[in-house]
Amino acid sequence: MIKVYTSSVIDAPADAVWAQVRDFNGLPQWTPFVAESRIEEGQPADRIGCVRNFRLRDGGVIRERLLTLSDFDYQCSYSILESPLGVENYVATLKLTPVTEGNRTFAEWWAEFDCAPEREQALAEQIGQGVFQAAFDSLKKVVGR
């Protein structure tokens, strides 16, 4: 089991950032690598247990299940059901915390998963930087001041 942790500061109030990221079906609106997304079986996107099915710009398809969603804590978590990444037992959490100084947002995103030992380092880099940090950078442009 390895853990990947990425955190950043978004120059926008936590309410505004949360409004963007709480939509489990909203990845195409704020990440650079998701081309299209839908929630399976017509469920609402904030119902625990719903599955998002999205296609990456490079063609890969990923299915993820929403495990928790808290508007009080600005936090959600999800697991991967299917993906081309080659990971197992993948659970990720995205959490926002207000930064009172400057009315900004501290954003954390971490994941735990299993994979072949020789792929650990490459996957940690790919997920931590290629996915989480890249998404944060894109989020800064979408919601930032």
Binding site: T6, S7, S8, V9, T97, P98, E101, G102, F106, Q133
Partner: protein, 473 residues
């Protein structure tokens, strides 16, 4: 109940921010609202349960207790015990998180407390604004100042006394030396007093192979920080060290900040240079290897020696009955004047019978033995049932294997460095507090210029000195 939450992002790595905040007594150094602050009872400032007693710049007095501290999670929780402010049930938590994007630090500070009805807004502003928010700004500035000294000098003129080879005092010669600029985590200090210890003689002679000549010797010194690239240490701070690798006989030294102790105002640099090594030795012997209790019988060998006198002073203050061995009547008087109730004059290591007499036949609950081989049989005789024999030096040769089962005895062979590597701040703090309270009485009787270090060694080896010796650069 008021619930406050304030947070900020500090432009420094989490390790640097945490190094300051984990120290429960650091706030007087960086927080603009905090005046003098002290940890009560000489406890270490990162020990859960310790109490900081401080004055705010506005005159209010507060006592706060550390309730939890996690180096893994970077969390510190504390509460107010007493305050001249009308705050009740105050519990606060500081938590740091790493901002991986830019290697910065997210700092979250929250608390809950009660105040008299109608004064909520006032205290929201006081605590949230003048304590938390002002603290964010001040610590950020404090860390910036730490990292970028006003005048960074690539090289500083330094001189040092070098053992040019192993041998007599004549091998000690004054040389020009390089003093490198401090790297991350290091400081450069101008030394103002250097302690001389007998171990320096052993190292000079090559009996302890701790240097490769030519190299400076010296185990302890004190001085003033010139430059710092370490959090929590600033130019102008008065500091001291002991137990670093040899190299203390120099005018300017660069070394890791975690080997330094900040000097309280009441401890002079000369006292620190004379006291740190021997005082911390007495500290671990009396408080760690064995915890001396009131009523214990303590046997101290070489009771009029440098460490011996400190052991007598401190053990008697702890309520122990102190028995000591010395080699002359004059030394017996000196030991007696320093807390040794029963000095035994002996040149033949014969003391067991008198130790038993002085302790009502019981023997010594703890023996502090720097003698080793030649006194072993008498020590075994002098040891009380279930007694603790602490062999911290072997001046007459190595101990042979012992059978302590006749008394269910315990033997320790402690080394100072093994204690300081984890407890330096706590040990030094307890020594300085004991000196302030008059329990330890450092006695600097001999001062030599640094360049005359060879003379200091000659006098030390010829037993022409008593009390502590310092070199003055």
């Amino acid at each position: 109940m008021i619930r406050l939450r304030r947070s900020a992002v500090i432009d420094a790595p989490i390790e640097r921010v945490w190094a300051v905040l984990r120290d429960f007594n650091s706030h007087s150094a960086w927080h603009p609202a905090v005046g003098p602050s002290e940890i009560e009872n000489g406890e270490p400032s990162d020990q859960v349960g310790c109490v900081r007693n401080f004055t705010l710049k506005d005159g209010n007095q507060i006592r706060e207790q550390l309730l939890a501290l996690s180096d893994r999670d970077h969390v510190s929780t504390y509460c107010i015990l007493d305050a001249t402010l009308p705050m009740r049930n105050y519990v606060a938590t500081v938590q740091l998180k790493r901002v991986t994007d830019g290697d910065r630090t997210f700092w979250h500070w929250e608390s809950t407390f009660d105040v008299p009805r109608g004064r909520e807004r006032e205290f929201d502003q006081l605590v949230g604004g003048e304590v938390y928010e002002a603290g964010f700004t001040a610590l950020a500035a404090y860390l910036r100042r730490d990292g970028r000294p006003v005048s960074r000098l690539a090289a500083v003129d330094s001189q040092g006394v070098v053992a040019t080879s192993f041998g007599g005092p004549e091998v000690l010669q004054l040389r020009r030396l390089d003093s490198p600029a401090p790297k991350s985590g290091e400081v450069r200090l101008r030394q103002t007093a250097i302690g001389v210890n007998y171990i320096d003689v052993y190292i000079r002679k090559g009996l302890y192979r701790m240097i490769e000549p030519p190299a400076p010797i010296g185990m302890e010194a004190a001085g003033v920080v010139l430059e710092s690239d370490a959090p929590g240490v600033r130019p102008g701070d008065r500091v001291a060290y002991a137990c670093t690798p040899p190299g203390g006989y120099v005018t300017v030294r660069t070394l890791p900040a975690d080997q330094l102790v900040l000097l309280p105002d009441h401890v002079s640099e000369e006292t620190a240079a004379a006291l740190m090594l021997k005082g911390m030795t007495a500290e671990y012997l009396l408080h760690r290897t064995y915890r001396v209790k009131p009523g214990d019988t303590v046997l101290v060998h070489a009771a009029a020696g440098g460490v011996g006198l400190l052991l007598c002073q401190w053990a008697s203050a702890l309520g122990a009955r102190v028995i000591g061995t010395v080699s002359s009547e004059a030394k017996a008087e000196l030991a007696r004047a320093n807390g040794c109730e029963h000095p035994i004059v002996t040149r033949s290591y014969s003391f067991a019978e008198k130790t038993k007499q002085a302790s009502g036949g019981r023997g010594a609950d703890v023996i502090y033995d720097g003698l080793g081989h030649d006194a072993a049989q008498e020590n075994l005789e002098a040891l009380a049932m279930r007694g603790h024999w602490v062999s911290y030096g072997q001046a007459t040769g190595a101990l042979e294997p012992l059978n302590l089962s006749g008394k269910s005895g315990t033997l320790s062979q402690p080394v100072l460095f093994h204690y300081t590597q984890d407890h330096l701040q706590q040990m030094a703090g307890r020594v300085f507090t004991a000196a302030r309270d008059g329990i330890l009485k450092p006695n600097v009787r001999h001062r030599y210029p640094l360049a005359a270090a060879a003379n200091a060694h000659r006098d030390l080896e010829a037993r022409r000195t008593s009390g502590q010796i310092v070199l003055l650069p």
